[in-house]
């Protein structure tokens, strides 16, 4: 910190020998724990400061992402007038307004009375959108694109839109925050005495340095929360996720499927699934204290209806609440995952999200107040990064000016080279790392911004319309939403199959599968095609060897027991399969 670099006290009139005797120990003292801590603190703050500032500033804004979107988008805004409509009924109403698109992940927003309920769907191009409904009047308020300003900020903070390393890199800043905090305090002797010390004015650099320290001291609690949660996520990603490090958190309960017996009981006629209103009523009857936050209709015929929410538990991350799985045909509860039964480590793991992003107060004024506190301290933290950089630059600039004043021309040239060479300047090689990352973030952002308007229909390889029993079916394979130009069929990769099949067919078909090669047994006909109406699809693992003449085989099994099959050449032959890239 600043005191360490201030000039030593003026020499007294003692002898030169005494001066030498006092200087020597000073040189040694430079490498004591305090100075080392200062070096670490400066290194963390200076070398990656540009990236750190982006992470902190975007994180600060991301705290209010939902509120920002709420202000910008009238579709989200509602006025609480009377009682809320049953959440399942709301979903049924919203679904009726989008008859050709299956809605998924319907979120009630019950914790946010001024915000509409919403669900996700795929538009006719195959891109994501969100549909909104007023939970008091039942009026559909409209739909919005995938990438809103708030969501953009959240994604930017979480990933920097950098491929692969983005999330791990952001998480690494959590550890750096923690290190910086500890090193900063170690470098600040008797820091506890300075909580109420007014910054010294007169000299800009000294003022900024004092302000930096004062803000740092009052932000200790917040830096600990951000640092610990970020460091926890850093261990999980990349170490647990990509490097097989031991995961101390016990596996979470998995999502169930309906059993063979439950499906057999339904007989040979197409069963009629229960409505959203009936499902939510069943859950409320069974668990009167359960607040429904999310409803997700089955994506295939062995998939239970998923109803997520809260029994009142705190510190649960978004989308990770207690969940009740309901048989969509007879209303039996298949499984209940109660967050209150989680282990201490699972609860700790869950708590990191709400603590980091400040949404732990859940609802009402308290939620907004907590978020504003998080936003304020986030802004202060961003200020710490910026002022830290300014302090460093001012300090090095002062030194540079002194040198420059002696031999201007040659020194100017040397200075330019010093700043430009990879290892030169205050940030050294890290300046190029920062610049490279910033370019990457810029490119990532521009790619991401195009996401909302892109779809996957009729892209990649197109498998022409064919008869599948009494129905027609076609599909296309694509490598990714933004990968339309890449070959979607390559040995050993995961590809995506989007299947176009009519509503009537889906009513009568129990299971629809696809595989490479004709199924050996009807018991294992391949990969299950699933998803909401209008976006039936399969995530398909292609075999490591694809033989010449290999074909995709599609198998439909109806509720009444009929089996229908059709097939296409995997690779384009310009007769049945076309390359439409």
């Amino acid at each position: 910190m600043d005191e360490l670099t201030q000039a030593p006290p003026a020499a007294t009139a003692d002898s030169a020998g005494r001066q030498r005797a006092t200087r020597r120990p000073k040189v040694k003292r430079k490498w004591n724990r305090q100075y080392l801590a200062y070096l670490i603190h400066s290194f963390v703050g200076l070398k990656l400061t540009l990236l750190m500032t982006i992470v902190l500033a975007s994180g600060t804004l991301a705290v209010l992402s939902q509120e920002i979107d709420w202000l910008l988008m009238p579709e989200m805004r509602v006025s609480p007038t009377g009682e809320r409509i049953n959440s399942g009924e709301l979903l049924d109403t919203l679904q009726a307004a989008y008859p050709e698109q299956g809605l998924s992940f319907f979120q009630t927003n019950e914790n946010h009375p001024h915000t509409a309920a919403f669900a996700r769907y795929n538009d006719e191009n195959g891109g994501f959108r969100y549909a909104w409904i007023d939970p008091y009047s039942g009026e559909v308020t409209g739909d919005t694109p995938l990438l809103t300003v708030g969501r953009f900020l959240s994604f930017l903070h979480a990933t920097l839109f950098l491929p692969v390393i983005g999330r791990s890199l952001v998480n690494a800043f959590g550890l750096l925050t923690l290190i910086s905090l500890v090193a900063g305090l170690l470098a600040y002797p008797k820091f506890w005495r300075f909580f109420f010390k007014k910054p010294r004015t007169g000299n800009t650099r000294v003022f900024i340095a004092d302000l930096h320290k004062l803000v740092g001291l009052w932000s200790i609690w917040f830096l600990l929360i951000i640092g610990i949660s970020g460091s926890w996520w850093f261990y999980k990603n990349p170490f647990v996720r990509f490097m097989d490090a031991p995961n101390p958190v016990e596996p979470y309960p998995s999502k169930p499927l309906l059993s063979y017996e439950q499906l057999e009981k339904l007989g040979t006629k197409t069963p009629t699934p229960l409505t959203g209103a009936q499902i939510s009523q069943i859950v409320q009857d069974k668990y009167p204290d359960f607040q429904i936050d999310m409803l997700n209709a089955p994506e295939h015929n062995a998939d239970p209806y998923q109803v997520s929410g809260s029994f009142g538990e705190w510190l649960v991350r978004t989308g990770g609440g207690s969940t009740v799985y309901v048989n969509p045909y007879d209303g039996d509860i298949v499984k209940t995952i109660d967050v209150r039964e989680y282990t201490a480590l699972q609860r700790f793991d869950h708590a990191m999200g709400p603590l980091h992003y400040g949404y732990w107060a859940k609802s009402g004024t308290a939620d907004l107040v907590v978020k504003l506190v998080w936003f304020s301290f986030g802004a202060l933290m961003t200020g710490l990064a910026v002022t830290g950089l300014i302090i460093n630059l001012k300090r090095t600039r002062r030194g540079a000016r002194i040198v420059m004043s002696r031999t201007p021309a040659l020194k100017a040239l040397k200075k330019s080279w010093h700043l430009a060479k990879p290892w030169g300047g205050p940030m050294g090689v890290f300046k190029y790392i920062n610049i490279l990352m910033l370019v990457g973030i810029g490119v990532g952002c521009s790619i991401a911004i195009t996401l909302g308007s892109q779809g996957v229909k009729d892209t990649g390889f197109s498998y022409s319309e064919k008869a599948l029993g009494p129905w027609k079916v076609s599909m296309n394979a694509y490598a990714g939403l933004l990968e339309k130009d890449l070959k979607p069929i390559r040995p050993g990769i995961s590809t995506n199959l989007a299947v176009n099949i009519g509503k009537q067919a889906l009513h009568e078909i129990k299971f629809l599968h696809v595989r490479v090669g004709k199924p050996r047994t009807i018991r294992a006909p391949g990969t299950l095609i699933h998803g909401p109406l209008g976006s039936k699809h399969a995530h398909f693992e292609l075999p490591k060897k694809i033989h010449d003449g290999a074909r995709f085989w599609m198998t439909a099994q109806t509720w009444s027991g009929e089996v229908y099959q059709t097939s296409w050449p995997i690779m384009p032959d310009n007769k049945e399969t076309f390359d439409v890239r």
């Binding site: 997700n296 978004t318 996957v456 018991r523 998803g531």
Partner: protein
């Protein structure tokens, strides 16, 4: 399209924007969703070691396996371990493996697709 559709992409250097996309949707992947089942087996000396998994990353512990000859004889059967693995002696006949994770989720792997280590 569920979130798993996006998260199940293989991360490879040949598809940078795919990786961007995967990272973009990592938040939405926190919502649970339908998933596909995969099976990988490899031959290690005189035994075959299999490991199943769902596309959302969840395991396949305690699920029934059956190893069947081309003549429809059952050669081996059992359940996967807590670590989602299943091991059986290398059959002398031609065979295929079935892993049954429930209705619509039965995966078959032919001996031709068993990796030789």
């Amino acid at each position: 399209m569920s979130a798993s559709r996006l998260m199940s992409f293989r991360l490879s250097s040949s598809s940078p924007s795919l990786l961007v996309l995967a990272s973009v949707f990592i938040l939405s992947s926190q919502l649970s969703h339908a998933h596909s089942i995969n099976l990988d087996c490899s031959q290690v000396q005189q035994e075959v070691q299999c490991k199943g998994g769902f596309s959302d990353g969840s395991g396949t512990s305690n699920l029934p396996y059956v190893v069947i000859s081309y003549n429809d004889d059952v050669l081996a059967q059992g359940h996967s371990s807590e670590q989602s693995t299943f091991t059986f002696p290398l059959p002398e006949q031609d065979y295929y493996i079935l892993l049954d994770a429930g209705p619509g989720h039965v995966v078959e792997l032919d001996m031709q697709d068993v990796a030789k280590n």
